[in-house]
Amino acid sequence: MEFDLLWTIAQRELREALKNKWLWFYALAFAGLALALSQAGLASAGYAGLGGFGRTAASLVNALLLFVPLMGLSVGAGALAGDRERGTLLYLLAQPVSRAEIFFGKVVGAGLALVAALALGFGLAGLGIASAGDGNAIAYLSLAAYTFLLALASLGIGFIISTLTRKGATAAGAALIVWLALVFFGDLGLVGATLSFHPTPSTLFVLLVANPLQVFKLAAIYSLRATLDTLGAVGQYAYYEFGNALPFLLTGLLAAWAIVGFGIAFAIFNRRGDQ
């Protein structure tokens, strides 16, 4: 793999992704919501047992769980499907570049665009929190780091959608369905499974981490409070089972989601005849 070629494609993809008005709309909507949360000091909307900055940040986690997957999935889903639909992908593949350079160039470009949009959102939200006289820079940066990992995991799933679809509109629709599944049906499914099958905490924990959004939620809450007892039996199980290794496990799981997502997407894209 030649990294100068990869970077050339990444730069073009970055410019293309930065033109995506939805990306900026989501980023600014998140920032606006975060500002509102910090200014209003939504103490009662936070997680029980959290105080001050913790309450604001815990409210932010809920906002992040909605916005970040939507951003990652929509940017990823459009990355290859849009080019394929326009015909630019075929022309690009006909140039002296490898499929790996094209694919990972697009991943890097889309990833940088996503990081830029999130940095804007986090920057504005951070200003709001600081101006409210409340803040914990370390916890805030940990939350930002987990958010970037969640964004990459979502981007990976978005790329899988993109490799499997031929039209931009189809990819966008599929991304929306996957987002609904992860955000809403994942939670509902878990509640349903718990009520129907009464799984053990360990089984429930495995079911929980099968959804990257839940992994992010565990990691974010843990980073704010260094305990998961606010999340009930599963949180307590995870805390007592893994102890201080828990943040590394959760970080690893989020990273694995991203790596596996991009890996599957590349395997599909790399099939001969897939243009």
Partner: protein, 300 residues
Amino acid sequence: MSRDKISVRVNNFTKQYGKVVALEGVSFSVQPGQALALWGPNGAGKTTLLKAMLGLIDFKGKIEIEGCDVQRAGKQARRQIGYVPQEAIFYDLSVRATLEFYARLKKVGAELASVQHARVTSLIQRVGLADHAHKPVPALSGGLKQRLALAVALLADPPVLLLDEPTANLDAKARSDYLSLLAALHHEGKTILFASHRIEEVETLADQVLMLEHGKLTETISPEELRARLSSNIEMVLWVNEAQRAHAKNCLTEKGLDAHLNGRGTVVVRIQSQQKMRALNLLNEAGVSVQNFEIESLAG
């Protein structure tokens, strides 16, 4: 230029889409500086063969471009190729920015920016895009976009050009100008392989014509021979009631005639000029009412 070397070698090429065999057992070679036309009806496999040469599809057999196996070293093979598609689609950039983007991908002037700038400028002038260099590509006409595609193809000065029906979407003036550009490149010694169904393209450019039919390479002939064959062939376009169109097509094909339905709702049959009445009589006997017909010469 050397004539003992082989620029493009295709050996026992076979491509299947599921159970459908698109091309089978195709073998040929192209010497440096030679121009070969791939001739055949729609669906004969011309574009499939070009895509395979670019390493874009999987296939059985072997294709080498300047000694590079496209299946084992696709990127190296593509470095030897300038490709012009039937209709090039570009990103939303200016003409110059488009050329600079592809120049970076082809590593033109990778060490020195001024080399890249000079190459891009000279190609913009050569293909006649100097007045459009700063225009966004989507604002260009089809003819100018094809010129840009040719400029992109020539960036790294590759020895081989692959062209997929390069003038299919151009008007008469643009076609003539474009063919002049390609003829000059052929004269300069570029190896050119192009898919075509236009006799004027073949007569202007090709040294030899590869005839593709029913998924096979049937023969290699000269452009003059192709012209002679086409001059006795015509295409009859028959207007038939919609309910009878499929029946009409089947009647003709069952009797060995080359007939198909086209997108405009007519039945098209390719026959020798003296067989016009045979086609009409066959349809009459089958109870098909022909409302009108036109005759087009295939010789252009």
